[in-house]
Amino acid sequence: MALIHLTIVTPQGKPFDADAQRVLVRTTGGDVSILPKHIDYAAALGKGEARVTEADGSVRRAEIEGGILHVASDQVQVITHHFKWTDDAQN
């Protein structure tokens, strides 16, 4: 199955850097979900919940405020200052 490579970066570190099935984020224009083979894309992020579906199908949730989403040939990057996992299972 096709996967995207998702990298989430903040100036304090790299909370996620692995293959994933999909990622859903809240942009300033509304929720956007990125699946494999998405067109190259950039959008401003607002404040809201993000959902990452990992390669094994498990879903992780996080909070994001500000930053941008950048997609270039299945390399998906979330670049933000405020990122926090909200599920307790990990982290």
Binding site: T27, Y41, A42, A44
Partner: protein
């Protein structure tokens, strides 16, 4: 006479010893701070790499019209954001930075945003116009960086400044640190990737997106430069204090030798006097 000089030497040794204790303690503090600073510096690197690519992708995306933030203007007024140390006793760390800027800014009308107490004191003394000042480099937060970034961007937009330059010290290794001048606005063309004509969808529009993201990106740049500089400062201080401790050790050795010699000669003299007295 020999006694007085013995006492002098003893006092001298004591004072050097206490100086050595201080330099040694400063060295240890710098070493432990360096460890944390390096970790923070490493952690901020991926952000810079990824964000830079994204910003340029968006900035160059506008086929035809280039973004305001890419085209260099004629420079009438330049603003330096200078990151120096909070304290001295770090070898030539602070002096190198100030010298570099003095050289770079010799032909331009400029003002500064000093970050760090040493930078603030230096520019206040020299009478260079200060826009805003941040007193501490240690523990500089992203929020503070964002405030600075918003301010410089607003002043770049309204034409108060034609160029914003970030001056920081890049950490190469514990023994080497390099002063760097990085143009923030207009965006540093050295960072630009090769131009690609890929189609990209931007929401809400490349220009608006760039305008929205730039303060965050610049804040990230300032934050990461501050981490870099802080690590450099600690490394410079550690090396300087290490050599100061060594020098103090050498001095103590030298003084002890002189002390022992003086002691020996005073004993010899006393003996000679006793023997001379007994002979009569």
């Amino acid at each position: 006479m020999a006694g007085a000089s013995m006492k002098d030497i003893k006092l001298r040794i004591r004072s050097v010893e206490s100086t050595m204790q201080i330099t040694k303690a400063m060295q240890l503090v710098a070493s432990s701070k360096l460890r944390g600073a390096r970790a923070r510096m490493e952690a901020s690197r991926p952000y810079m790499k990824v964000a830079r690519t994204a910003v340029w992708d968006i900035a160059l995306h506008n086929t035809g019209a280039q973004s305001d933030y890419v085209i260099p203007r004629e420079i009438k007024r330049r603003c330096y954001i200078v990151i120096a140390g909070d304290r001295g006793l770090a070898g030539s760390y602070n002096a190198n930075m100030f010298k570099r800027i003095e050289w770079d800014s010799r032909d331009a009308n400029c003002c500064v945003i000093p970050i760090g107490r040493k930078a603030r004191d230096f520019y206040a003394r020299k009478g260079v116009p200060i826009v805003t000042e941040i007193e501490k480099v240690e523990g500089l937060t992203l929020e503070t960086c964002t405030e600075i970034a918003r301010e410089v961007m607003a002043r770049y937009d309204d034409g108060t400044y034609d160029e914003i330059v970030l001056a920081y010290t890049s950490f190469v290794s514990v023994l080497t640190q390099k002063t760097k001048l990085k143009p923030l606005l207009p965006l540093d063309a050295h960072d630009a990737p090769e131009r690609t004509n890929r189609q990209m969808l931007c929401e809400p529009g490349a220009d608006k997106l760039l305008r929205q993201f730039l303060p965050e990106y610049l804040a990230g740049l300032i934050y990461s430069a501050a981490c870099d500089s802080f690590a450099s400062e600690q490394a410079a201080r550690r090396v300087a204090m290490d050599s100061a401790t060594k020098n103090a050790g050498e001095m103590i050795e030298d003084l002890s030798l002189r002390y022992n010699r003086a002691r020996q000669s005073s004993i010899t003299q006393e003996l000679t006097e006793i023997v001379a007295g007994a002979e009569h």
